[in-house]
Symmetry: C2
Subunit: 328 residues, 2 copies
């Protein structure tokens, strides 16, 4: 037996579909009738068809989330934050993965039309214009970690510059003068911003900062530092664009007999659980909070607030053993 529809309930309660709809949605219906309708619905195991409902209401109670393939921590924390806020507000989350090219990306965004009331998009490898063009028009949106060039959607991003700046200042404060920055993938906007901020903060403080490249994986950090040591390069601090690479860097230093932090101070970015255990100085990014804020912003937009702002989410420096003490 297929699922019961509202007409089945109407027939059984001997009323019209309109009355059923009103009874179940708490509109004005005589108490006795309402009871009959509820009884009929219960007997048939009637559950309203959300799809049909949203078609006539032009409201879905769902929010679309389009994300790239993310690293574990970031992904789960971000989704968790959004989910927490969404379920608090009575929304469901419709998740879509953004893999490859921009063609597929446009596809993914279009698939959301008619399914969601708003959209949260994170597309670090797409140009802001590309994203804006692909967004279904008229759908409130929040762009995460994309600089808002369009002005149509709101944007919210991680303040990488502030985090990286804090690290460099801290390294300078403990007397380091020659920083090596291990950057993330070139196409990643967070990675680029951290690298840029590192360079400019160092310049402002009158110390050196050299950038070498990595790919956010532990091995790449290890390889990068091993190569520098082999080449006889001198430096007294390492700032990696994420914790994984910082951990790799520490391994390379240990293998070469350098002491951390005496010979070389090390800092990362993200504050993954491992960082605390290894005593790694890092920048704590409250990703779940970022997710919550993205969702809250979106809902504010959906409820009619004018969109178009650009918020930033400030991370926080966490000093631990790998940059402890100062070098006089």
């Amino acid at each position: 037996m297929p699922d019961a529809t509202i007409r089945d309930v109407a027939r059984r309660a001997e009323v019209s579909v309109a009355t059923v709809s009103r009874a179940l949605n708490g509109l004005a219906v005589r108490e006795a009738t309402k009871a009959r309708v509820r009884e009929a619905a219960r007997e048939l195991g009637y559950v309203p068809h959300a799809g049909a409902r949203s078609l006539s209401l032009a409201r879905t109670n769902a929010i679309g989330v389009v994300l790239p393939d993310l690293h574990g921590e970031f992904f789960s924390e971000f989704v968790r934050g959004m989910d927490r806020e969404a379920s608090r507000r009575g929304y469901l989350l419709l998740l879509s993965n953004l893999h490859a090219g921009s063609e597929q990306a446009a596809q993914a965004l279009k698939a959301m039309r008619g399914r969601v009331d708003g959209l949260i998009v994170m597309a670090p490898h797409l140009s802001p214009e590309g994203v804006a063009a692909a967004l279904p028009s008229g759908l409130p949106s929040v762009l995460v970690n994309t600089r808002d060039s369009s002005g149509d959607a709101s944007a919210i991003h991680l303040d990488n510059a502030a985090g990286a700046g804090a690290v460099v200042e801290h390294l300078a404060a403990i007397g380091r003068k020659r920083i090596v920055h291990i950057a993330g993938p070139a196409e990643n906007i967070d990675a680029r911003e951290r690298a840029d901020a590192c360079v400019s903060a160092a310049r402002a403080l009158g110390i050196e900062c050299e950038v070498v490249s990595g790919d956010f994986e532990e091995e790449s950090g290890e390889a990068a530092i091993a190569a520098l040591l082999n080449a006889g390069h001198e430096f007294d601090a390492i700032f990696a664009a994420n914790d994984n690479m910082a951990i790799g860097a520490i391994q390379a230093l240990r293998a070469a007999g350098r002491q951390v932090p005496q010979d070389v101070a090390v800092a990362g970015f993200d504050d993954i659980p491992l960082a605390r255990h290894l005593g790694l100085t890092t920048v704590r990014v409250r990703i779940a909070e970022l997710g919550e804020r993205a969702l809250a912003t979106l809902i504010a937009n959906m409820e009619g607030a004018q969109s178009g702002g650009d918020e930033s989410h400030a991370p926080e420096l966490v000093v631990r053993a790998t940059t402890a003490g100062s070098v006089e």
Copy 2:
């Protein structure tokens, strides 16, 4: 200007809505007409309304996922696995969080009616009967980590008994005789199964296994072991129901001056990234694979395979430093 509908496109291309629908879905339409329709759609920026589409097709291309509040690693890996498989098959994931009571749980499941083609449910704190009752009838479902009592839906679960058994056998093989098992929360089915398997495997091997309680958090592992040591309790191995508690246990042992693994061998469960770094023996659970398999099973059911099987997902013992060597 609101979004264009299929009737707008029809008007502009000077054809009927049926022709537009056919043209865009690749059915038999004269080539010239098809081109005109496509042109009109492009000009209007027409995107089909997925909600309306799924209403008439009785197919949504979405899969509902109902999960409790999970620990970071598990959540992200599980969702990642499902997402990977879903996007490969052209489905979207509709995520819903299952918080508190069973009343709310039923609510969450009902909200899925008419939105999804199938359901993946993980409800460790609900009775299988409760879940079965709340499932919208006629919706293919896969229950994760719930023993299949209903027979209506399929089930897939982690083989905790196999994992825990392997750990106990390994501990016995290196000569340990008095195991302490730090259990997880009593209401968690995985935790219960691990504890039960630990006890029965130990009995089968003729060694001791005492169970103390914890809550999956690092601190609870530390506290449990500290309490045992204070009480003068003797043991030569610890098997924690997850890695976090094992790590806490190691800290308690260190604080008390016990050597790992010489005095006490330690093993965990999950194989979180930290475990590798600390050299913790553990049971590797390929959670992403579990997610993939859950989704694949669901899709098989949706495509008409008879449902009702109960698959199990075997984890794998990973031996590391915390149980290295043997005590003669």
